[in-house]
Amino acid sequence: MAKNILEVQNLVTRFKTEQGLMKALDGVSFHVEEGELVGLVGESGCGKSVMSQSIMRLYDEKTQARYEGKVLFNGRDLLTLDEKEMQRVRGQEITMVFQDALSALDPVFPVGSQIAEALRIHQGLKGKEAREQAEEMLRLVGIPSPGERMRSYPHELSGGMRQRVMIAIALCCHPKLLIADEPTTALDVTIQAQIMELIVRLNKQLNMGVLLITHDLAVIAETCTRVAVMYLGQIVEEADVKTLFRRPAHPYTRGLLRSIPRLDGDKRERLFVIGGTVPLLSQIPQGCRFAPRCPYACEDCGRREPELLPVPGGEKDHLARCHKAADGQGVS
């Protein structure tokens, strides 16, 4: 069995707001194995991006947020590191790719020098060496005529090309884990297909763990080996990708899967709708957080908060946060 490169244990992230501390993540545990491609899926406000930012400790702990729990990276708890050590982890060992490559790149420098900068800072390469290596990185991410593109400014590149540059920068230091936060959301489908193929190729080629954060279940289905579904700051279901799509145990996962219009679905059938809306973080329901919108909820669901437990009789490592699933009654 491969070892865990990242292990998040009971992570709680609280934001400081005018109404006091708001729990955006509430006891999240999951792991990424070496060279594994794990998906994290959920709708707006479920906390999936907070998760990625918390792993990297990007929120200012003095003014913005407070973390609890453990984020073990290669066995070392990132939450206990001081800022200097953390800075070494960021970009060296764990890197991130964001949704909006245009705002993540510096508009006044050519992309070549931005990649070279990362190489200088993290790998101590100098002048020519750094430039050559930067060109090599551009080639790795599949940018045509990398020598010329080195001199291009971000605004001269298309969205897909910019995202490739972002990935090139992220890969500079041969990280062991890449966190890709909605890397293709701003891109067209044909470009999305190119970028996802690139990420999958790099994942295999470099044996690099990838945590793919997205709202798009179809992207998850095509790329990941394991998936965690988030709802209101918690993981509500986790399974290998086939099990999740074939036998989802949590009513929320089921609802999500049934509500996407599909290329191969029956057109005459109405789209499934999950009733109600996602509650605000300040108004988290008692008991099971999904109960007010759940078609299977009973009285007990509104009182007792379910835990993330193995689904009885299910596949290995299939976890769900649902009383009904845990009772073995299942929901169907």
Binding site: T190, Q194, I220, T277
Partner: protein, 328 residues
Amino acid sequence: MEQPREIVLTAEHVKKYFPITGLLGRVENYVKAVDDVSLTLYKGETYGLVGETGCGKSTLGQTLTALIKPSAGSIRYKGQELTGLNGRQLRAVRKDIQMIFQDPYTSLNPRKRVGDALTEAMAIHGLGDRSSRVDAAVELMEKVGLPLEYFYRYPHELSGGQRQRVGIARALILDPELIVCDEPVSALDVSVQSQIINLLLDLQKERGLSYLFISHDMSVIRYTSDRTGVMYLGRLVEEAETERLFEKPMHPYTQVLLSAVPVPDPERKKERRLLEGDLPSPIDPPSGCVFHTRCPYAQARCAQEAPPLRALEPGHKAACHLCGRENA
């Protein structure tokens, strides 16, 4: 199906070129956003317009609703020519042609309460008195699933899905015939997206509305539209009944587009055709067939001659020299 269907809107050879001005305001070049597009929209149908960023689908939508003037071509709404109408005449037509926009955050006036946003449209067109306008607004709010207490709320107090419902109610309040939906669900989460799609389809059935449904999402288009047109670089490259288009796409671009759509089923690995390179600039589009620079089947002829959109089978048109031949 057999009897001739009532035509709501026809566009013939519509072009929209945006001038690029250089020094001293001299026009140096044009962005050919929409280049020679013709299409027909029938009563009660949904025409899906699909394409990637920058293909001109939104510009076409705005041109067809007479929000922007076409550079050339003719647009007829129920036989009436829209190009060349003056402001007052246009206003009368706009009552019948409404729009729903992608971004419900920016398409609502942040300083207008929901109720005012809805009744304003009627007031502008001089319909009803104050109390009948409020009645109409309340009735529509119920119809689109907005709680009545939102009548006095401001847009920022609503969620994205609720705002899109306001957008839909506002489009409906003038009882239009045709609604141009420009990416109406693209900004919404999947669970909200399905609510809005169902609502739009229900309203269509109930009121016999015609939709021009613009989207980049092939799955949404397949679900909502009766007929679909595919745009690439300002041109319509293929048009067919939706089922047919998805089952048997003819144009190489449509084929690539369809193969790129991810399928939410991990056990169905499909063959994927990736496109080389990026979209060419609409300022200086490729000669001949606009797709030839990226087309895997391109031949010498494709670079020289622009293929017309022609019917290859009943109701199925494609703009490709090679379609209809064995090797395509």
